[in-house]
């Protein structure tokens, strides 16, 4: 090992850890403990969804038919692609290829912006259609022969839709910020195969956000077979 690499490793090891392995294990464990609280945090919303869906199924079906499956499906694909580039980026850091890591993480950021852009288009569509809960909420099925059966409870569907996807989008924005931070710090040569814990942990965060969407997509967009356009 060259002298400069030893210095990097010594700088990276905090004094309260015995060695780099213990430090890495502790860091991963800590990140998972945080993700555990995140799972329970989103879990509360999923639980509310479960209760109201069981109670007002038809109102939820009518609400979900307003979702654009193609935009939602595209966004699912965009997130899965971003998870791939993220995973490859973490591996590049592990294999001492900082430039490759930066390129892969920049692509991840682009996918992140792509997701948020598509989400913004969807939000705009719902907003102009008065599908935002509150005093201006107004729900039409779009088919005069079948007026909404239960618009009051469809409003609950939209409350959950905005809350769950909104919280998810907030996590995406934070995730893009974190990946950008890794790119900046990584460009200064902060990470080595011995020390890349921040890259690993931001990767865990990014995959977790992808994981939440994997459940949100079928639950919010695909409740019933009748999709329309």
């Amino acid at each position: 090992m060259a002298t400069s690499e030893i210095q990097v490793a010594e700088r990276a090891l905090q004094h309260h850890f015995a060695d780099m392995d213990q430090q890495k294990e502790t860091s991963t464990f800590g990140m998972w403990m945080f993700l555990l609280t995140e799972i329970m945090f989103f879990g509360g919303l999923f639980c509310a969804y479960l209760v109201y869906r069981a109670s007002y199924y038809h109102a939820f079906v009518e609400g979900s038919q307003k979702m654009n499956i193609w935009l939602g499906g595209t966004n699912t694909a965009v997130l899965i692609c971003s998870s791939l580039t993220m995973a490859l980026g973490v591996r590049a850091a592990q294999m001492a290829k900082p430039k490759l890591m930066i390129v892969l993480l920049l692509i991840t950021i682009l996918f992140g912006f792509g997701f948020l852009g598509i989400k913004a288009v969807e939000y705009h569509e719902h907003w102009v259609n008065h599908e935002f809960p509150g005093p201006n909420f107004h729900f039409e099925t779009g088919d005069p022969a079948h007026p909404p059966t239960d618009p009051v409870h469809t409003e609950i569907y939209f409350s959950l839709y905005w809350a769950m996807t909104g919280l998810h989008a907030l996590h995406m924005i934070i995730g893009v910020g974190l990946v950008a931070w890794i790119v900046i710090v990584g460009a200064r040569g902060a990470f080595t195969p011995e020390y890349y814990n921040p890259v690993e942990n931001v990767g865990l965060y990014w995959h977790f956000v992808d994981l939440v969407w994997i459940y949100l997509f079928p639950l919010l967009y695909l409740i019933s077979k009748k999709h329309g356009g």
Partner: protein, 90 residues
């Protein structure tokens, strides 16, 4: 390896969208959640490296799933057994 997982996840997404167009009654949601869980498991095991993690990390993840299950099941045992006294569910 990562590319293979990515391909399975993409195919899984296509299957989910397709499965939603078939009328299966109550099994639509079961199938959707099953596919989502398979996809989620792949993400956690491979992208999040759980397969190569320490036992402590594995226990943490299993604990989170267990606690989530408690949250859902205890809440639902309340709500779904109220049907005989209120109109919930109808």
């Amino acid at each position: 390896m990562y590319v293979l997982i990515w391909a399975i996840l993409m195919v899984g997404t296509a299957i989910t969208v397709f499965a939603a167009t078939i009328e299966l009654g109550v099994f639509n949601i079961v199938l959707a959640l099953l596919i989502a869980t398979v996809k989620g498991t792949l993400v956690v095991l491979f992208f999040m490296h759980l397969r190569y993690s320490t036992k402590l990390t594995m226990v943490t993840v299993i604990a989170s799933i267990f606690w989530l299950f408690i949250l859902f099941s205890l809440t639902m045992t309340d709500y779904i057994t109220r049907a005989w006294s209120t109109n919930i569910g109808h």
